[in-house]
Symmetry: C2
Subunit: 132 residues, 2 copies
């Protein structure tokens, strides 16, 4: 089949400017920021409220898409692993999955905590947490 | 930014032919099938072994991308919700997240259980389970 095109639904505003400042994963982060959803997708937010945990998919637009083997967490002593056996941002489709706590909702803007993602990263999907 | 293009890394072979046969979610499914990863991406599988649980992202190529409000689980009594407040396959970027148990690995083919996805669905990413 043809290569599908993603639609960017919004953008992250946060305070993590570089990879060296990013927590390893969302589950160990308390960094906060704002998901700005573009007006044409705002209707899709109906039902999201403060206090919920949501699953957010980001498109890591600065990641290398052409590397298939990495040292997990940059630790060479662990040997090379296939990217699909890791959570490295490096992969053919650099999609990150975060589970974020919703702190507040204001129209098309969601204030969230738990971020491990760089400021300015495009958002491609939001889902209800499974079982949530 | 430009709309990014996804790379299809493989295809699911399973026994779920239509939506009416699909379990609601992977967490209540024991359906098995095979993830066929295309040869050019096989190196990325290095380190995946039987017994692991992996996170698999599928591209739901038959889903409607232009609907922003749905009845959760088709139940009209619950009222319309924004798609981002649900796990509906209908959404601007129809990406499904499954956590699947690896039963066996044979070269570029992973036998898995826990499927709620239609036969023939494109695969776009595989990740290690967080904490796994």
């Amino acid at each position: 089949m043809e290569q599908p095109s993603l639609r960017i639904i919004g953008i992250l505003h946060g305070d993590i400017a570089g990879l060296d400042e990013a927590p390893r994963n969302y589950d160990i982060s308390d960094r906060t920021g704002t998901l700005e959803i573009y007006p044409e997708y705002q209707a899709g937010l109906e039902g999201i409220a403060a206090g919920q945990t949501i699953v957010v998919l980001f498109w890591l637009h600065r990641s290398n898409r052409d590397v298939l083997m990495v040292y997990p967490r940059g630790d060479r002593s662990r040997g090379l692993h296939g990217v699909f056996a890791t959570r490295s941002p490096v992969r053919p489709n650099p999609i990150a999955i975060s589970e974020l706590k919703v702190l507040a909702v204001d129209g098309n803007r969601l204030e969230v905590s738990g971020l491990d993602i760089l400021d300015g990263t495009p958002i491609i999907d939001i889902k209800k947490q499974l079982g949530g």
